[in-house]
Amino acid sequence: MTSVRQTPDQASPGPASQGPASRASASRASAARVQPTALMSARYQRAFTLAVMFLVIGWHLAGAGGQLLRDRPEFPSFAFQGLMWVVMALAIAVGSALVLRGAPGWGLAWAVVLIMLVASTAASVATPASQLLALNWAWGSAGWTGVLMLLRRRFTELAAYLAVLAGATFGVQVWDGLNRLDLAGFLAVLAWSTGAQVAVAALVRALDVAAGQAAAAARREDAARERAATAEIIRAARQARKLVLQEGAVPLVAELAAGTADPGDPRVRARCAVQAARLRRLLAESDEVTGALVHELHASADMAERRGVAVEIETAGALPQVPGPARRVITDAAIAIMTAARSHARITLATVLSESATVLSESTVLSESTVLSESTVLSERTVAAGIAVSFVADTGASVLLPLAGDGVVIDHQQDGGLLWAEARWTSG
């Protein structure tokens, strides 16, 4: 009997098992499955952000900086232009740091772009009137920085910023006295530079959406793989169960059919109850990918079953792994209660939620363009952080339960001949 009962255990993932079982054990907790796909999407988005960041830095150093040095003699005060360039470089550095730490909030993002706006406008004002468009180096940098800072905010914010920036440059030109040629030049630069900025921002948005979809597809594939692995485990377990049936239930049914066992006989009824409980447990084994604790509890149930006690074991939720010492306290309690049980016992395992735990969770709003930046935010969610193992058994008199310890709290209540006891373990 014992050797046969080993088989379903081997079919379930233990540390030493191989094949489909160990594949499934890799994705035991559902939380563990959510993380990589959310991370993947976040990683893509970060790559797009980095690309825009390098574009901005490159533009300011090589484009704006190069032009400023080349046109150096043309400015009445090169020192002032240089100062504005440095101010903008510092703002870009701060902005980049903010973006690298995660999407900056409204206030910080706008503080950076407003510094850019002011510096750019000041540089324009200090440029000789007739040569404004030819010499202007700052407008482009200010625009690109706007793209970087406002990339994952509402599109209207970026549009408003670029419009104000263009308006400021245009205003300086009007102030200097605008002729028709200047207007044509202004419109050409506007189309080129602002057009490119809007195009890049739109491209990144489209890529964000694609990354979200890729992550969702990966998650679906992952779930399908896990289902296949689980199906394989179930197939193996079913085979093992068939063997167990041959040992206990089949002979009993045969005796009942042949009339050699009398259903009116209390001993026969007790045998039936034990076999029924065993069948239920065998069926339930396929429900969850079980861990070491469940196997240990099954072992204590087997022990009681041999004495004719009908034991059922049920689990609720994806159970966390319980460390060895805590597991021993729980199984000691199980053994004490199973030894005292007279005719029936119920063992349940349920996850205990903790509000403080956090997990990466993918929000379901990937397709809504207005909330793209929230698609990979870290959000607070309750996750399994502990386990409540309970026992209800007709023990009659009270049972000597082990002392609590190793993170396990034991609680019990006697109601007539029924004992309820709960061993609760929480992590941390």
């Binding site: 239920r280 049920e314 609720a316 994806a318 349920a350 379901t364 309820w420 709960e422």
Partner: protein, 228 residues
Amino acid sequence: MDQRVTVAIIEDHPVVTEGVASWIRSDPGQRVMLVHTARDLAMLTGVAADVVILDLELSGELVTAQIPELVAGGYRVVAFSGHTDPAIVMDTLDSGAHAYVSKDEGREHLVEAVLAAAADRPYVTRSQARAMLADERAARPALSEQERQALLLWFQGMSKASVGRRMAISENTVRQYISRARAKYAATGRTAPSKDALLARAIEDGVIKASEIAPYRSFARGPDDRPG
């Protein structure tokens, strides 16, 4: 004038049908009357019954997807199944079944579940409590600490009276917590007339306030909701 609840059984194993019929017969109050038995859903056409006891697996096929049709036809469905997988239990309830009774729970709970369903009142078996505790879907309703604790102790195998002693509340309050958790589930997911009826009754009975469920409903309703 017969006030008894009429029930039909859809079950492909005659021995199970016989067993259910014997539970109905042995009810001391004779509160339920079996009016029809069928081996598949097609054989139910035209039958008038308050409640349908539905085996979820007919000829090897899960028939969860047919529940909305039954519900739309005016039947109250009590699922009676050998399955205990929480995902199947949840799907069944979400499809509009009033209650879920696993085959192990039948003797103790089936007749009571049928009576509760006939009155559109919540009935929560241990297998249902287990499914609610195991529910990790993002759109699950928010249960209070007390509701969760009552569900947990009930799932663990305590009687409702013991749960009450454990939580230092009355047995009636235990029922109230468990029913409220069930009502919150009726307010989420797919829409179904049976779920609306459960909810309306729960509000009428004072189990839950309309204001407690409004946010969940609006949150759960999506563009791909079934009509009616």
